[in-house]
Amino acid sequence: MGLPIAPFAAGLFGPDAVIMKGITGANWRLQDYLDRGGYSALKKILAEKIPPEQLIAELKKSALRGRGGAGFPTGLKWSFMPKGYAGAKYLVCNSDEGEPGTFKDRDIMRYNPHILIEGMAIGAYAMGIPVGYNYIHGEIWDVYERMEEALAEAGAAGYLGQKILGSDFSFELYNHHGWGAYICGEETALLESLEGKKGQPRFKPPFPASYGLYGKPTTINNTETFAAVPWIITNGADAFLGLGRPNNGGTKIFSVSGDVARPGNYEVKLGTPFAKLLEMAGGMRDGKKLKAVIPGGSSMPVLPADIMMATDMDYDSIAKAGSMLGSGAVIVMDETRCMVKCLLRLAYFYYEESCGQCTPCREGTGWLYRMIDRIEHGKGKAEDLDLLNNVADNIQGRTICALGDAAAMPVRAFIQHYRAEFQHHIDHKQCLVPDYI
């Protein structure tokens, strides 16, 4: 048991870190968390018997938005749960992090697991939910084991289970692991998977708040979303909002990967300039020039360097620049990269991960992949670029879940911003960048 993690200097996640403040890789245990002031939000709520409505109002005011990708206001989501409902209700944490470029929830869970537990316990209290599940990406088994240890610690110390800290509030929390399916990061696919089925998304509506796990009212939030909650309760909604920008409250953990000197997670205030984030990640590797950035995970539109260098990292600014903040996965590409090759790898991912339920996605992702493959390998035809956009059009918005959109959006953006590169492959029947890069 336990992870082979070499401790690192506190502050690795950035000077403005809130969720990851003081984290050294070695101080993940309950006592460490308590020493950092952990569980004080939960204690305060239970001691002062703060009304659930007041907590939800506070969250709404904080402008905390879902950190998993959709950016939906958390307080609003919590308010959708039926009040006074007599039957079972569930709270689910989506830790099935598998969007290429995204690796923040892994660090939260392995380095600061109790902040997630506290955040979920507060959510359970606010929505009157007795049972929760934390669905963890199957590929990070060591993190699953760490969360199991953390749950055992929290339960033994009375922060989970029956009559928490001597109050009337009870909440049982369990970990559940996936076993290799990107689609289970989609919330209704995740619920199907939790029920012991293939992870194929459900039609919405009904939304999980009315028909969720086992058909019962359910709220699903991302790991980082829950992890932000204790700070908001302790410090107040205004303070959290003040960390970010209006409608973009708080800090956000950005997973920076690709051609940077120090790939890793950096927690910054929403609204921090991209240039500053790039600097935190050590700048470009080997002093190369920035070419392109996917600012929110592989599903989001790519943006050229000049646009990114003028953009701030918050939901609204990135949307204005023509992409989305998504999960906060920042994939950086330098001047040596072939955009066709980059898109080809992403297209293969969506082709591989389509669950096969909806025809436009099941068939369309294969068409996209095969067409980009032939362009990359010098067999593209003049009409292929328009055809790619046409296929993307026929996937997007025509499927049950957003995987189809996620496959289509990168294609359109890569062609929009780097059409000349695609055209060059077609005209000259070759790629200028060798395969081994």
């Binding site: 079972a88 369990y174 290799g180 399916a181 012991g196 086992y214 592989s298």
Partner: protein
């Protein structure tokens, strides 16, 4: 249905622990854990192993097959003693995974989806393992994430797992 195949008492105890996480009328929720435990013990999931899990959890065998064939980390055919899955997705590829994958193929003398002649290694191409910051990453036997895998570290890993 094939003849039922029994798992060890220790494995059954672990499955029972998983079952206890879910409401008593929702034993099926433990199917992913049960299949993982069965695979850990048997090396791969034969039809007999899946049938056993179906019987144990009171599920129709077809429902278990559906789950086992949907999630990529279940092996429905015998594999090598050590399974190495390297992520080659874009963020990893930008951080050296393409070269690392080529090194593994050359060193083991096999391609993706193949097993070495001595049955020691199976090599797989993985999609996002959720650890891009530590690229190149190799998932060893489903449960151990080997990080920042340079050619040197890959050689040591192969030596260790032989």
């Amino acid at each position: 249905m094939n003849a039922p195949l029994a798992l060890s008492p220790a494995a059954l105890a672990r499955i029972d622990q998983a079952v206890a996480k879910y409401p008593s009328d929702q034993k099926q929720s433990a199917v992913m854990a049960a299949l993982t435990i069965a695979q850990d013990e048997k090396g791969w999931l034969s039809t007999a192993a899946m049938d056993f899990v179906a019987q144990y959890l009171g599920m129709p065998p077809i429902a278990v097959y559906e789950v086992a064939s949907f999630y990529t980390m279940y092996d429905l055919k015998p594999i090598g003693k050590c399974k190495l899955a390297i992520c080659t997705n874009l963020p990893c590829a930008l951080q050296g995974a393409t070269a690392a994958a080529a090194h593994l193929k050359q060193k083991l003398g096999i391609g993706f989806g193949e097993t070495t002649a001595d049955g020691a290694f199976t090599l797989k191409e993985a999609e996002c393992l959720g650890a891009c910051g530590d690229a190149p990453v190799v998932l060893v036997n489903n449960k151990r994430m080997a990080c920042a895998m340079t050619a040197d570290k890959l050689d040591k890993l192969i030596e260790e797992m032989k």
